[in-house]
Symmetry: D2
Subunit: 388 residues, 4 copies
């Protein structure tokens, strides 16, 4: 089975790919993957051995160097192991992506060859050809692991598939790269998952297309660290009728992701989504702030500090704070593999449109109001059980 990754040389992608390939030779723990737990037995999910990776990337670095930088330097896999899977990594097919509407910071990082001024339909055609050539007659899933794009508002032309396609024909360049990829995937019957905070498939026209084609898709923004804890912890205050007064979070992140997310233009959606999770779990709006700081010493191993103020009986003020020290890509990679397996499973079961039971995996689950992690988990398990 084929997996097409947008942003294939990034930290999450390289950790997922190297991890999957290495685990074919070494007995490495698969913690973090739900699809390796008992609840997902007997579903005939695609095996790790069957996954064949390819993808788009905008940077010039080799995939092997990207693995060394992202996976070895952070201590996720030893250099010995990575040297051992070198050939498999070198065999992976990578094509040049697009940076359309990706913001100045990302555009500056991109290979010159990405930036050519062609029409949007020409870019679409190029992307589509890359994927279809890779896919051949196999099953294929596309997942977006590229850097966060700047915020992009939905426009009137995005509302219907017709106006959307006619806009493309007119070469209106009003969609970001993530949405163009999503369009290419869904149009070609390829399930699409948006693991980033970019706009991607969260456009009415694309949702319409997915329903029409009966293609499963979902997103957005993988829930890997601080937000995961929020979604588990905020319900506790609700259950106990403890009144949360405020929640302030400070995220310290090095590596390229940290640098992108600390840019004003790329950060907005991520932090807004994080506040939403808490309010959603509590049932009321609180004073909440979230900051992301680029701080190279921690590399990919994010440190988040959160302070929560709440009131109890007689109005007495109390608080808790937590420090989450999670390796970003180590937390994200198993979710990515789960999502690949499960969207492939959905396709086989002929389930199309938005996969709301996947809310568990996302900071901002599309068209889903449930923020409570426990309810999300229940929803996913129930869904999967209904197919057993």
């Amino acid at each position: 089975m084929k997996v097409w990754i947008v942003g294939i040389k990034g930290s999450v992608a390289t950790t997922a790919i190297a991890g999957v390939i290495a685990s074919r030779r070494y007995n490495l723990p698969k913690f973090g993957m739900l699809t390796e737990t008992e609840d997902f037995n007997n579903l005939y999910l695609v095996s790790l051995e069957e996954l064949e990776f390819g993808g788009h990337e905008i940077r010039d670095v080799s995939l092997l160097d990207a693995v060394r930088h992202n996976v070895v330097e952070n201590g996720y896999l030893s250099l010995d192991i990575v040297n051992d899977i070198k050939k498999d990594l070198n065999d992976i097919e990578v094509h040049l992506g697009t940076v359309i509407n990706c913001g100045d910071f990302i555009t500056r990082m991109a290979s010159e060859k990405c930036k050519g001024a062609t029409s949007i339909r020409e870019i679409e055609e190029r992307i589509t050809n890359d994927i279809l050539e890779f896919k051949r007659s196999d099953d294929c899933v596309m997942i977006n692991l590229a850097s966060a794009e700047p915020h992009f508002d939905i426009m009137p032309e995005h509302k219907t598939l017709e106006s959307f396609e006619s806009g493309l024909d007119k070469d209106l360049k009003w969609i970001p790269a993530s949405s163009l990829y999503a369009y290419c995937a869904i149009k070609n019957n390829i399930p699409y998952i948006n693991f980033t905070s970019s706009l991607g498939n969260d456009i009415p026209a694309l949702k319409e297309l997915a329903v029409e084609k009966n293609v499963p898709h979902y997103g957005k923004d993988g829930k890997t660290g601080e937000t995961l804890v929020k979604a588990a912890l905020a319900p506790m205050f609700k259950y106990r009728n403890l009144r949360v007064e405020g929640w302030t979070g400070y995220n310290v992140l090095g590596g390229f992701n940290g640098e992108v997310l600390s840019k004003e233009e790329n950060v907005i959606d991520t932090t807004k989504d994080k506040a939403r999770v808490i309010n959603n779990c509590l049932g009321y709006n609180i004073y909440s702030t979230t900051d992301i700081i680029y701080y190279p010493p921690v590399k990919n191993k994010k440190v988040a500090w959160d302070l929560i103020n709440f009131r109890g009986f007689l109005g007495y003020s109390m608080r808790m704070h937590f420090t989450w020290e999670g390796a970003d890509s180590i937390l994200a990679a198993p979710l990515v593999i789960d999502l690949i397996r499960l969207s492939h499973f959905a396709k086989k079961k002929k389930i199309g449109g938005l996969l709301k039971p996947f809310a568990f995996y996302f900071k901002h689950p599309i068209e889903c109001d449930i923020g409570n992690l426990h309810e999300q988990c229940q929803m996913l398990i129930n869904w999967i059980k209904s197919y057993k």
Copy 2:
């Protein structure tokens, strides 16, 4: 409706009593009480205005002084408010309790008059008279808020009601005070709640008696702080298949409770129960430690620091830690009021025996395997909804 509190001059009891009485005159927030939320509407629970308190105590201090020390000095209520409810506090009926098998530390604190060498049946009779005189023809609930007793193993004589009662007749002094109180309550059709880690009603003979009499009862050890967080957070690791390697907790507590719990003999059950919660939520046993330190500067405002080590994808080690700064009695008092209201409700509905849906409130819910806070909450809400 009457409420008989064992340990009525302790920190939790005085916070609950002063809080309830003060909230009749002042508009004080009732955060922390589930019975004040929408889910508990229309159940005709006893109102706060109807609660009439009385209880046993082993120390000589006046209730008013106890309120000043526990409630005012910790800043839970202002001196002005407490002065204003002085008369109500002074009217509360308090009798001398028993310290049988309560351990050296607690016995040393007790009034000399508690320590007289009488037979166990004489103590029982005295306690029963106190309660029945207070109760008169009203409904009544007993709740144990006394200090933690040293660990006490179940003995063969505890196994059946018959051997238990015959033991009492023989004046075998093999039960702790908490269990004697439980016996007096249940025998007299009074619902009994054990909010402490003491043995209390967790004895086969007493469970048999409760079934026979159809008296509702439950316990033990109110889940107020660090364990609450554990029960909300541990499931997150389970849901995400993140492998917890260890969990170490350090509890810093001042006040009298802190002093009692830091005594070797009184601490065992509390810390053992805390490990159980995590293992129960995770489904496997981890390396876990819990320490309780007496540290006067924090007074009743417990500070707990917990470190959690876990492994993710590829076996990579990560961790989180949290600091919980909760005011112990402020967190406990609303649970106490909830439990009073709900066990009275159960009695009215003719529900007898162990009230397992109350697991949500306890560190060590009797005969209940569910440690996950979310499942416990669901269980309670479902139970209450079935009576709507």
Copy 3:
């Protein structure tokens, strides 16, 4: 002895004033003041009883209300005590200040009467009259406790006293309020202390004037919390040759100060100074970030979280983090009183110009390269001992 406070209704000023006045009637601890320790005995410093306060303010609120809001609501003094010193507070003379070049945010807060368009010499005259009328023939000290002004670059006209005064004559409005106050004070032989991060007396022309007049002055930015810890802790890494890789600090502050400092335009100098302290203590430049977030739930009780990454033997990476939970005005007020007493002492001893031994009190001690708290403390103690 007279004390003229710029920003007299702010949180620090009201805490200092109410604290001093209340401590005349009640036996309140004077922790935080060095001038109450043994090292400062026998210096005949002005006593707390002798201090008489007056000042400028730009907001319309009454001083009593400001005390209630800043001092009582934060729990620094009880309402009973403040009611008891009401008369003394009401007797304090307050005049309308100026908001020239104070930035949009502060200007918007100001009373309309502050904003009148008069010439800079007219403002100067008004301010001077206010102070001299208050001072009469007494000794007087001016201290700036107003909100932080936006950053202000030194200009060529600021370099000499001559060009500075001729600029004032030409009504060039190129100095912020803090510097105009400093000019008024120094010109009139009044010692001036800048406890804020505003430009104040840190202008060559004003330093020249102070030398000419032999008036003592110093600043800037009182070192109250996170920076205090930095100045104590950073030397440890230096002493032990542990290589600091990075230091990131997150400051959470409610109240009006928090709101001002979170404004982009007002924050620059504060955060820049904080990085300087660490580099200065270590002797090399590190990757360092400092953020200030406005977060109302903590009110005046600042919470700072700092993460420090460092390398040891064989290059191994380690880290520490700390949480500082300090009440901002409680920490600042005793320093303010110390500085009043000590600058008055300097004046009596005929010491003029920059008071570099006061570096201990400031985040950014003017023209002083010593950042190490221990050396700063030694410098202050040695200075004071030389006058014993």
Copy 4:
């Protein structure tokens, strides 16, 4: 120059030895060593190349395996580097030590061959022979890096050298191993450093012997982590006249050291010394607790959490807490090398007796009242400068 290490297969010893040997071939950072900083230039200290190691050990494991376990598994050096220095490690001379009065836990770990029942003079002779054979005509230093022994009180016979030696002759077994080693070293003109909390050289008779022989010696208990921070931070509260109410510390440590220190009998001295540091820095006694918990998941990378409560102006309560995440042996090893170099330097300069300027390196500096890290550092630097 020869270095004899007692406890040569322990974590600190193996990190120091492997680190020194590896740094001869690789350019590894020497952070943590003061003797590599500018202040120690031009003193002709022994170079790292000249150090030749030997030692006593009670366990049967090979030194190479000990290095793999302690140094590689903790990630301090890579397996490649350790393989590369294998020959040098295998060449190191190790003899069987003694476990006399080392407590049950350590004795149980020891090789059977250590436990033979011989007279104390026979043990002394064996130890001395081992060292003198190793030393030959070279300079030599002994350092104690063995596990902490249980507390041992000074006895009347320990007071003078005469009664001490006559006790040995009578085969009175009233000294622990550490003191027997110290006796062997000092008697044979070998400088002795006690880096552990064991009794070692802190015996009047041994101090007398050291003066008589003019042999430099010092201890005890290397100051590596939490106590280091305490000694840097406690003075801050003193300088600012902030009144510390309490300080509670919780140390989480895995590995063998963690296991030993968590044993009741071995822990006493370590925790008592830690309280002393704070009181000493502050000038008054506070409520202070220190706990050490054995928690395998953190391995050698100790995590300490400290909570400090203090009062400021008007008696207002505040607090700070810190988490120290230091790799124990990485922090200790460079101090060990410093102490070897510096005691050798002292010997060359004919300085005998207690080396009080080394207080900087120890939790419990013998006969030294200075706890303030800054003063200790100054004392060391001044001492070294006096020999420049």
